[in-house]
Amino acid sequence: MARLVIDPVTRIEGHLRVEATVNGGKVKDAWSACTMWRGMEIVLRGKDPRDAWAYTQRACGVCTTVHSIASVRAVEDAIGAKVPENARILRNIIMANQNVQDHIIHFYHLHALDWVDVVSALKADPKKTSELAKKISPWPKNSETYFKAIQDKVKAFVESGQLGIFSNGYWGHSAYKLPPEANLMAVAHYLEALDVQREIIKIMALLGAKNPHPQTFVVGGQATPVDPESQNALNADSIAFMLKYADMALEFVEKVYIPDLLAVASFYKDWAGIGGFSNFLACGDWPDANGKMYLPGGVIRHKNLKAVEPVDHKKFKEYITRSWYSYSKGDVGLHPWEGETTPNYTGPKPPYEYLNVDGKYSWGKAIRYDDLPMEVGPLARMLVAYGLGHKDVKEVVDMVLKKLGVGPEALFSTLGRTAARGIETLLMAKKTKDYILELAANMGKGDTKIADTEKWDPKTWPKECKGVGFHEAPRGALAHFVVIKDGKIANYQMVVPSTWNLSPRDHKGQRGPVEEALVGTPVADSKLPLELLRTIHSFDPCMACGMHMIEVREE
């Protein structure tokens, strides 16, 4: 039996590693190990809770904004600050913009090359590629000359021996099913998406005060002044600026991303039966003026879409039976407010060949909901909304299912996960525009309030209080838990999407979502396990960019 190891960067802690055993051309068992947070409280304990967001936005290499939002929300929840309308809407714009940009990057730059063979694109006929592109979308960049130019550019890149970002692909693998023309079209869009993503993020740059690390958040609201008449505030010009980029994003999603998704998916329908999971959790986000979430929260057990339950965070428990920590009370599950982070590394001394997967094997804790592992992310959000009969979600999901000629059960799969991300991108691209217009309307009413300052002074806070801040980050439900004593942080725990999805086994021996999803995955060539990467990448793990196969060993 072959034992596969997928490990992006063996020298550091803080990475994701997957080990799998393969038998008879299929994955028999899998283990995902990671280091996400070795305890934010180590850094945050004793600090002013109003500053926590500025630290937490540095926690992750990819997402800055998401941790800022969850953090200010956690502190607001603890001290009872009420976010005014302008700030609520601004946050909705920021979150929607981030969601669209992140999903575009994920689809084209972190996931597409699991399905698209760059080298095959070099063999494509540009004329036929142009015909194909015209058939699926009215996107203007679809001429024969255009595709020829792209092909020449990629050819020059490949021939120079500097494959760069393409250097880790399994080009020519038998699991690639697209014809050369579809591959060339996708490669062209891969390059276009690079330009588009850095244009549409200009909305964030405007709202985040031109800094790669947004300085715009504040406990109680936002720090950006809002005034349609003022030159020094978000004004009518800013609204027009944001609308321009929101339109650009929506057009790209409608005319490129969705058609590409449908075209690629139609060649990989077998993946509607591979890589699925059964329990899902969404915390809900994008609140309206009444606090109702545009994408609702909910829990789905055992694929039962008819019985979506409300989320109760008191049912969150983190187990360390198989994780490199110890708890003062032993092998129990702890709610994040009571969370402890005492490292207890018992793994092999690096560099090592294999982890001891029969014992403790991960820096990630096993987070469970009511003792069940939960998948979080776009698929969880779409399934919860679909189960609750959400009109917009149902409309797009049903359109995609119909075009692919599959039923809703196909959603519980790797393909379903990838499709759900695209569906959500379309919805959020539309909502970005709605929120910008909502902000304009609210400003038009003369409302310039941007933050609740009544609770700014720690003297107004209870002696001891605790809060939770939820945010539907692009890769899934994110929660920050804070305990405040005498105006200072006493405990701080982050439950990030990858903690749910990549969690190791728990006290009952239940596999985490990625581990479970990998079981049964076909593997054509155990030396080139492209199929595993498809499922792992479909979860959009934080470290997706670094996830490349580096070694394979026979047992």
């Binding site: 960067v9 020298r11 990819v62």
Partner: protein
């Protein structure tokens, strides 16, 4: 502005945060003529594309595994850079590698890319630099200033600084 300085690294991982810290000191304490832009790049990768594409020359300040003693500093240029990015102290190195490769592919790579690197002593959760690396801050600043002066930039300590 033709010249940019980007300090990269995770400020929550002790010595990993030396890049942003040096960038902050340069921004606060120096005056440059002509003006240059100084960016705290944190752990970002592709999101920095929009920041680097407008420069002709950039200096990246970062921890680098030179396989030397902690505190060792060196300047890397052009083709010397990529091999060092393959051994990483943290995930942000993946991001920087992707950033440079994508910039090359899309034709937005600055004409000159220089890395001012330092061998870290400790990369673990925490806000403070190790004494060794903290003691090398002036050396890193001098290396950056030397490069800038070769590029024809006048670098002066701000008057309020002693």
């Amino acid at each position: 502005m033709e010249i940019g300085i980007i300090g990269v690294g995770n400020i929550l991982l002790r010595d990993e945060g030396v890049g942003p810290k040096v960038a902050e000191i340069l921004k606060k304490n120096y005056k440059f003529e002509p003006e240059i832009e100084i960016i705290d790049g944190g752990t970002l990768g592709l999101d920095l594309l929009v920041f680097i594409e407008r420069f002709k020359k950039i200096i990246i300040i970062d921890v680098v595994d030179f396989q030397k003693e902690p505190g060792y500093t060196e300047v890397l240029r052009g083709e010397e850079i990529p091999p060092y990015l393959k051994t990483r102290f943290s995930m942000h190195h993946v991001g920087i590698q992707d950033l440079l490769e994508v910039a090359k592919l899309t034709g937005t790579l600055p004409e000159e890319v220089v890395v001012v690197g330092i061998q870290p002593q400790v990369v673990e959760m925490g806000l403070d630099l190790s004494e060794t690396v903290a003691g090398k801050i002036n050396e890193l600043i001098k290396r950056v200033v030397d490069i800038l002066e070769k590029w024809g930039v006048k670098c002066a300590l701000q008057s309020h600084q002693k």
